[in-house]
């Protein structure tokens, strides 16, 4: 899987992009980055039950349930979230959910090492990779999603094993081969994402902090 540090970098980019100047505080940034790396915590569960990595928290049900809860709560007149953290708290919850889905799940789902995004309802590790290209020999070539409508597996190319079938995405804590290897940055583009996330978030914290100081009067 793309390293957790990359998910943190992408989450920081999303936090800066989706939070207003007033909302972008160190605490809000910490919440969004935590949400972005939270799916990778299933690596801990994987130590207890092998196969849960990229499955237990990398599925659509966790964010759907949380999103449903936030939505229901924010509709109520005496919303707990709004009562406690204000309208900014509700906004922050949505941003954190976006980071969970995009930085946490999509990064692994659109990757060769795959995530079991429908587990446990549909037990199958899916890794969507491929191309969308126009070339003059073949016209539009689209190999990202190649559904098989004839029956059997819907996405035969993307699918690998199942959790029940013993498919396991190795982690530092539970490697498949001897020799633990904890990768912080796996490729060049990942370094760019991590660096831009760190620089952008740091710059925003400084800028927004300075701006808030200007208006320190209104608290």
């Amino acid at each position: 899987m793309p390293p957790t540090l990359v998910a943190a970098g992408l989450a920081a980019l999303l936090a800066a992009a989706l939070l207003d100047e007033r909302q972008f505080t160190g605490r809000a940034l910490a919440v969004v980055v935590a949400a972005g790396v939270a799916p990778d915590l299933d690596a801990l569960l994987d130590v207890a039950v092998e196969g849960l990595h990229n499955a237990a928290l990398h599925n659509v049900w966790v964010p759907l349930l949380l999103g449903g809860a936030v939505w229901l709560d924010s509709r109520r007149g005496d919303s707990w979230l709004r009562g406690r953290y204000g309208a900014d708290g509700v906004h922050l919850a949505w941003v954190a959910l976006a980071a969970y889905c995009v930085a946490g799940i999509a990064l692994d789902f659109f990757h060769i090492e795959s995530a079991a995004v429908l587990w446990p309802v549909h037990d199958r590790f899916l890794g969507v990779t491929g191309r969308l290209v126009y070339n003059t020999a073949d016209g539009v070539v689209f190999t990202l999603v190649e559904p098989s409508l004839a029956g059997g597996e819907l996405l035969p190319k993307a699918g690998s094993g199942t959790v029940a079938g013993g498919e396991h995405v190795p982690t530092f804590l539970n490697p498949d081969e001897p020799g633990r290897d904890l990768v912080f940055v796996g490729r060049g583009w990942q370094l760019l994402v991590v660096l831009s996330g760190a620089v952008l978030a740091g710059w925003r914290l400084r800028e927004d902090g300075a701006r808030t100081d200007d208006f320190a009067g209104d608290g």
């Binding site: 793309p2 992408l10 980019l13 999303l14 800066a16 992009a17 989706l18 207003d20 100047e21 972008f24 924010s74 709004r82 309208a87 509700v90 906004h91 949505w94 976006a98 995009v102 930085a103 999509a106 990064l107 789902f109 659109f110 990757h111 060769i112 890794g127 969507v128 990779t129 491929g130 191309r131 969308l132 290209v133 126009y134 070339n135 003059t136 020999a137 990202l144 020799g179 633990r180 290897d181 904890l182 990768v183 912080f184 940055v185 796996g186 490729r187 060049g188 583009w189 370094l191 760019l192 994402v193 831009s196 952008l200 978030a201 710059w203 925003r204 927004d208």
Partner: protein
């Protein structure tokens, strides 16, 4: 090879973060144009051999524009500020950052790289590697490889002697690929060095890897979210 779509998506994600609530339709268009611009050097490559990822992927070009913006902005009767206000100056800086990070950077950090100092120092650089911790070996990184052997034959990047800084005894490999004489980055406009055969295959990519989808998703999400807020200014952010 990152497509122009991917460059623009990454740029919009950065711009949304840099501009915050000042991000609107006009700034999205300016940033997208600035970021797509470097890829227009595919047309330069029709005239100057192998100029794609070199002619407009050089840092000298945004560097020159940055100097011009800086000189103009500190003048009393700044043209940029008089025409577009303080917002215009800020947008110019953001567009320049996106040009460098999303336009040039994304190419430099992926296969084949870019030519950041062209034409003064003609060398494609591809920054790629791994940083990690291996049990037993400790921390390791493969982004910068220093070889302290005089034997340059293993480098396989002939004519890149300019890359070493210390006395010629050691070679520093940060991913030098060679000059425009050796490296040709293919594009749909100029798929081969030299004149093309009739009927040559020309490819125009949109997505080449899974992670491209993730980044495009993130850029699209940031743009949609920001525009929704700037279009409906005054609307509650939690109304949906």
């Amino acid at each position: 090879m990152p497509s122009t779509v991917l460059h623009v998506a990454f740029a919009l994600l950065l711009a949304a973060g840099l501009l915050g609530s000042a991000f609107d339709r006009r700034s999205a268009v300016v940033v997208a144009t600035a970021t797509a611009f470097p890829d227009l050097d595919v047309f330069v490559a029709l005239v100057v051999e192998s100029a794609h990822r070199a002619a407009f992927h050089t840092l000298l070009l945004p560097g020159g524009v940055a100097l011009a913006v800086w000189l103009d902005a500190r003048r009393e009767g700044s043209w940029l500020r008089d025409s577009y206000g303080e917002k215009g100056v800020r947008l110019a800086w953001v567009a320049l950052v996106c040009y460098v990070v999303a336009g040039i950077g994304l190419d430099t950090f992926t296969a084949l790289g870019a030519n950041p100092l062209y034409p003064f120092y003609d060398q494609f650089v591809e920054i790629d590697g791994t940083v990690g911790y291996a049990a037993g070996d400790g921390l390791y990184q493969t982004f910068v490889n220093v070889t302290t052997e005089a034997a340059a034959d293993g480098a396989g990047t002939g004519g890149t002697g300019g890359g070493n800084g210390s006395g010629g005894a050691s070679t520093v490999d940060v991913g030098q690929q060679g000059s425009t004489e050796e490296v040709h980055v293919a594009s749909g406009v100029d798929p081969q060095p030299g004149p093309e055969q009739p009927g040559v295959e020309r490819a125009f990519p949109v997505v080449y890897r899974g992670w491209h989808v993730t980044l495009i998703l993130a850029g699209a999400l940031a743009t949609w979210w920001r525009l929704r807020e700037s279009d409906g200014a005054g609307g509650r952010s939690d109304d949906r």
